[in-house]
């Protein structure tokens, strides 16, 4: 049986930051474009738009992905966490707190991507070594900080999240 072809606008049911949504999109639109231009979730940034810089990173079905390299039509029935889904009414996420406390940013464009990547890392590995942190974040580029304060912030977040001080 031949599968149906989607051409032009279509409706995709998905869950973003815990909220079930129906998104109207075209097959040519990336998840990043739909997040930013349709849903106005502008936390994910368009850096390189080709999978090198990590500024658009989101968590899709438990996996860190570059939202610029995902078509929006592919996220049907998916679960997506963006940077907007981290803070709650009670306050910032511990990873956000750690980046702020440690001044782990300068211009800030790469920061949402780094924070989402860090959340994905700590969800999987609550006590990463410095080497594990640096390898995990190799796909997030920062041209300001030299990475050192970012690595320290990830270590601080790991400590805070695992109940240390």
């Amino acid at each position: 049986m031949a599968a149906e072809l989607v051409a032009g606008k279509t409706v995709v049911s998905t869950t973003i930051n815990g909220e079930p949504l129906e998104i109207v999109c075209e097959p040519r639109e990336s998840l990043l474009e739909v997040l930013r231009d349709t849903l106005h979730l502008t936390g994910a940034k368009e850096g390189c738009n080709n999978g090198n810089c990590g500024a658009c990173n989101v968590i899709l079905d438990g996996r860190l992905v570059n939202s610029c390299c995902v078509l929006a039509v592919e996220v049907k029935d998916g679960e997506i966490t963006t940077i907007e889904g981290l803070a709650t009414a009670e306050g910032l996420h511990p990873v956000q707190e750690a980046f702020l406390e440690g001044a782990a940013l300068q211009c800030g464009i790469c920061t949402p991507g780094f924070i989402v990547s860090t959340k994905a890392l700590l969800d999987k590995n609550p006590n990463p070594t410095e080497t594990e942190i640096r390898y995990w974040l190799a796909g997030n580029l920062c041209r300001c900080t030299g990475y050192d304060k970012i690595v320290r912030a990830v270590q601080a977040a790991a400590k805070n999240l695992s109940g240390g001080n």
């Binding site: 989607v6 078509l71 190799a138």
Partner: protein, 294 residues
């Protein structure tokens, strides 16, 4: 990106029907980390993206009773590196799979896509070649298999005919007393394109090499299987002297170009260095040791 159509078939037959109908305008979409970028940035002419991730056969990892590994063409890299059975049985293949892109790329990119992209520097391809892997293909005329060393034909091109798709890849079981290793040179520590990549597989017979396979990446228009280099080791003692001689044969076979990643001369030099290291790593594993903690 240009306007495209999208389909998410749930069977190989349905995918073949679409590929057959739309011909060269249709392409299989796996992780999208090459295809989506090429269509958007390089104006690659694709009108129909056929998502393979809804097809069970393209998303399955199976270790057979005979110890062989068959992985669906759309299986993302992270599922292979997280699969303890695969890592334990095929550590030399995991050497390559684990360094394709960074974390976010690993979450989507597939070995099948890496092969079908057919880039001369695709990290998984020399590793597949030394393991003697076969590409299992389906098309309007039925199914066929092609050994991976014959798959790529020139940069970005391969043996897939119009209407055909790569369904899965099969790595035969590692023979007793064998080991494999893949490594590459990049100027960063992680997440870069190989300046040169080398895969090696050796099988030992006591203190001698019984057989060996060597494959090179980024030194020719396609990943290069250098049969002569591996064959030169057959029956030779498993020593540094034999390894050096095999590396010289690999160097001779490499025909690199000069580009922004390195000069032809530098690449020739790297083939020598990396072939020796790949063989030493494969030898270590064949003797029961580990490389990269695997």
């Amino acid at each position: 990106m240009r306007s495209i159509k999208y389909a998410a078939p749930t069977s190989v037959e349905a995918a073949v029907a679409i590929l057959d109908e739309y011909g060269e305008d249709a392409r299989i979409l796996a992780g999208g980390t090459d295809l989506i970028v090429q269509v958007r940035e390089n104006g690659r002419d694709v009108g129909v993206m056929v998502d393979g991730k809804g097809i069970e056969e393209l998303t399955r990892i199976e270790i057979g009773a005979d110890g062989s590994l068959t992985m669906g063409a759309a299986v993302p890299c992270y599922q292979l590196t997280a699969n303890e059975g695969v890592v334990a049985a095929f550590p030399g293949f995991i050497d390559a799979v684990s360094i394709i892109g960074g974390t976010a790329i690993q979450g989507r990119a597939s070995v099948g896509g890496n092969l079908c992209n057919s880039g001369p520097a695709g990290d998984s391809i020399p590793a597949l070649i030394v393991h003697g892997a076969t590409a299992n293909i389906a098309g309007p005329g039925g199914r066929r298999s092609v050994v991976v060393e014959d798959f790529c034909t020139r940069p970005g091109a391969n043996v897939l005919e119009t209407g055909e798709l790569l369904v899965s890849l099969t790595l035969p079981a590692m023979p007793k007393n064998s080991g494999a290793h893949y490594l590459r040179f990049i100027p960063r520590n992680e997440m870069d394109i190989a300046v040169v990549g080398v895969g090696a597989m050796v099988k030992l017979d006591g203190d001698n090499f019984e057989s060996a396979r060597i494959a090179l990446g980024a030194v020719a228009p396609t990943p290069l299987f250098v049969a002569a280099s591996g064959d030169s080791l057959a029956g030779k003692p498993a020593t540094e002297k034999s390894i050096e001689a095999a590396a010289a044969v690999a160097q001779e076979a490499a025909r690199p170009i000069t580009d922004m990643r390195g000069t032809a001369e530098f690449r020739k030099h790297l083939v020598g260095v990396l072939t020796k290291r790949a063989l030493r790593g494969a030898l270590e594993r064949a003797k029961g040791g580990t490389v990269n903690g695997r």
